[in-house]
């Protein structure tokens, strides 16, 4: 979610509540005895902070049950961002700027990690989508990347088969594509199409003229399309460009459209690689933020029960 001017009211309200909370804390801290979570002001800060934590955590339930029409998703997310952020200083005021020991210390550290990861996540969510748009014009749905890759492999096989005749490699299906694509039930159809096309064109292809293209594809490019890694030479755009220029020089001009298609498929592969990497950054912080948030809420409930008891 981009943090733009639509967040202004939330930001102002958050800042206002924060300032009021701090102003109220000053006379409270000046009173006899160190501020503590067990005092009435301390409890008030704690209840307010925990209420905001609960609200921030409720976004998970809101996302799970999308049919619930309880406010707009954007409103929930803005509330999650700002009230979640505000809950940290309120809890710090509740604790009187101490981390305590045992469970309270664990809670505070968990809270710090959750808040820091949340702020980092908000910054990533603010900046990364634009970067994705700029750097990955061939972006696809992230969950479809494996599926699209399988199709790119089939497409590349077809391009080369049409240009060079039947290819000598193991059938694409089912081992050439990933498990996800297998379950989608599309691979068999793809490989069958490629094989049929290859058979139909075998007779009219000059095997000698097309051999550089075939060699390049079979020895170098197919491995990259099948299992793209950043260590592969074709993962580097400048290296890839040089390889394809060299290939063009080796094959007759009739093959140049096929070379261009292959080059374009490589470029799409590289973009999918970049998209995967950026996506992991864009969403990887959630692996820290969400689980620790649940742990924080669960342990906070224990803390509340035990604090009220003792």
């Amino acid at each position: 979610m981009r943090i733009d001017k639509t967040h202004r009211r939330w930001a102002i309200a958050t800042l206002a509540i924060f300032v009021v909370a701090v102003l109220l804390y000053v006379p409270y801290a000046g009173r006899a005895g160190a501020p503590s979570g067990g005092s009435w002001p301390g409890l008030a800060y704690g209840m307010a902070g925990f209420g905001m934590m609960l609200y921030a955590g409720a976004i998970g339930a809101r996302k799970k049950v999308r049919v619930w029409r309880i406010g707009r998703a954007q409103t929930w997310m803005r509330g999650h961002l700002w009230l979640g952020l505000l809950s940290l200083p309120l809890i710090v005021l509740h604790a009187g700027f101490t981390f305590g020991g045992g469970l309270t210390s664990l809670l505070m550290w968990l809270f710090v990690v959750v808040a820091v990861s949340g702020v980092a996540g908000a910054w990533l969510q603010h900046t990364m989508p634009l970067r994705l748009l700029r750097e990955v014009p061939m972006e696809t749905i992230y969950d479809q990347i494996a599926h699209v890759r399988a199709q790119l492999l089939g497409e590349a096989d077809t391009v080369v088969a049409e240009a060079c005749g039947q290819l000598e490699f193991e059938a694409i299906a089912p081992s050439a594509v990933d498990a996800y694509a297998r379950t989608a039930g599309t691979t068999v159809a793809l490989s069958s199409t490629a094989a049929a096309t290859a058979l139909a064109t075998t007779e009219r292809v000059d095997a000698e003229a097309s051999s550089p293209l075939r060699e390049f594809y079979m020895r170098e490019m197919r491995g990259f399309v099948k299992r793209p890694t950043s260590a592969h030479p074709l993962a580097d755009p400048s290296v890839a460009q040089a390889r394809f220029e060299k290939l063009r020089a080796l094959v007759p001009p009739d093959f140049h459209p096929a070379v261009a298609d292959l080059e374009n498929i490589c470029e799409e592969e590289r973009q999918l690689m970049r998209q995967s990497r950026l996506h992991r950054v864009l969403h990887g912080w959630l692996l820290v933020h969400v689980p620790l948030s649940y742990a924080l809420l669960a342990l906070a409930v224990v803390h509340i029960v035990m604090a009220l008891r003792y």
Partner: protein, 434 residues
């Protein structure tokens, strides 16, 4: 030539993709279950091991460290779910005598003695707790104050706007205008602090610590309040070395430091026993005086013809010497012009102020690095009535907010009136804290 039309791109999409969670989502879900469970397992493990340290808000005070893992020692569960520490739990082991009979709404023990703040001294409460009342004191009618037992220190008249030390704190009553030392022992500090005084073995210069030493140990718990205050003065320890009660150079015995009647009888008897044992001495001249107080200048004794005259003459000499010694410190009953019955008249009993600040305590031990004269202007004091206690501003040189040394009320004052302390019945066994 490859083309990327919207239709082609749409055809690439597997419409069932949402049925299969992506690894990132799968891991997020797994960790979201595992993380809270791990936290709860940690707490469960501690509970199974019998430890409740996880719920402690911090280490308990040094005095209560032995109960660190025995929460129930103080956290006594009442009829409800709560196990809050109330006064009852504290009074199980400690007596907490009331602060003042006219105190309004005495606070709970835990209000001032805050536990779980680390290894702190629980008795050293912050001044805020005192200022809560004494910053704007409103007491009930002082006439309704509960009187103490006979001889007890009367309730102090208290200032009613003490914000901190020294802000709002009145000047020490001992040195307020018109205050005098009511002691009956004549003493000139300035004279005693001169250099090259006549000492028993030659000239010497006295120092404060030669006579005044703080009480470093106390065997009695009841006297813990006096620990660090100056030890009581007495003739034998502080005065006798320079002011011995020799009465004749030939007799190596000192007269007892008692009333003049007893001293006179002792000396007369000692002289008579000596001359009876040494009758040849009657006609001999007195030996030259060499020791205190006999070496003070005085005329020689007249020649004696018999033992009675010899004893009477030596007795007069001894009395002259004592005049300088005894009269220097003591008043005779009947005034300074001359006691009835000569120098054998009774002397006024000695009274010394035992505690200059009866409602406060002062421990000299932490202050030993400071020169005595920094606080007590003894070198300029020539009168017995001079009060040599320091002023409030002297203490505030170090003991004030921002000056470094603590300025809590509890540094000098106690909250509980320990004169009303009751013994506590033991309720625990040592094995309870194993």
């Amino acid at each position: 030539m490859r083309t990327r039309s919207a239709k082609k791109l749409a055809q690439r999409i597997d419409l069932n993709y949402f049925k299969h969670a992506h690894p990132l989502r799968r891991w997020r879900a797994r960790l979201s279950i595992a993380a809270p469970i791990a936290g709860l397992l940690w707490l469960g493990g501690l509970a199974a091991a019998g430890s409740r340290a996880a719920y402690s808000s911090g280490p308990v005070s040094a005095a209560h460290a032995f109960t660190e893992s025995k929460c129930e020692s103080c956290h006594v569960r009442d009829a409800s779910f709560r196990a809050h520490v109330g006064d009852k739990a504290c009074l199980t082991c400690h007596d907490g005598p009331a602060h003042a009979g006219n105190q309004v709404a005495p606070p709970e023990c835990a209000t001032c003695h805050r536990e779980h703040q680390g290894r702190v001294a629980l008795a050293k409460t912050p001044e805020e707790f005192c200022v809560r009342c004494h910053g704007d004191l409103s007491v009930v009618d002082p006439r309704r104050a509960v009187p103490g037992p006979p001889g007890a220190i009367p309730p102090p008249r208290v200032a009613n706007a003490i914000i901190a030390f020294p802000s709002g704190h009145p000047e020490f009553s001992a040195i307020r205008s018109g205050s005098k030392d009511p002691g009956t022992l004549k003493f000139n500090h300035a004279v005693h602090m001169k250099s090259e005084l006549r000492g028993p073995t030659g000239p010497e210069t006295l120092h404060c610590t030669g006579c005044h030493t703080p009480e470093m140990t106390s065997a009695s718990p009841q006297r813990r309040r006096q620990l660090g205050s100056m030890s009581p003065l007495n003739y034998e320890q502080q005065c006798a070395r320079c002011h011995p009660m020799f009465f004749d150079e030939r007799i190596d015995v000192q007269a007892p430091h008692e009333q003049t009647r007893i001293v006179h009888a002792f000396v007369e008897r000692a002289l008579r026993e000596y001359i009876n044992a040494h009758p040849a001495e009657i006609s001999k001249p007195d030996p030259p005086p060499r020791r205190l107080p006999l070496n003070f200048p005085q005329p020689p004794a007249p020649p004696a013809r018999n033992a009675d005259e010899w004893v009477a003459g030596r007795l007069v000499r001894a009395q002259r010497a004592w005049f300088r010694t005894c009269d220097g410190c003591h008043d005779y009953m009947g005034g300074e012009s001359g006691p009835p019955g000569g120098y054998s008249g009774p002397i006024v009993g000695v009274t010394l102020v035992k505690a200059w600040m009866p409602h406060a305590k002062f421990d000299h031990r932490p202050h030993l690095m400071v020169e005595c004269a920094s606080c007590h202007a003894a070198a300029q004091s020539t009168k017995t009535s001079d009060v040599l206690m320091p002023k409030l501003e002297t203490c505030a040189t170090c003991h004030a907010p921002g000056q470094g040394a603590a300025s809590r009320c509890s540094e000098c004052h106690g909250y509980h009136d320990w004169t009303k302390e009751h013994a506590v019945e033991p309720r625990f066994k040592a094995s309870d804290f194993k």
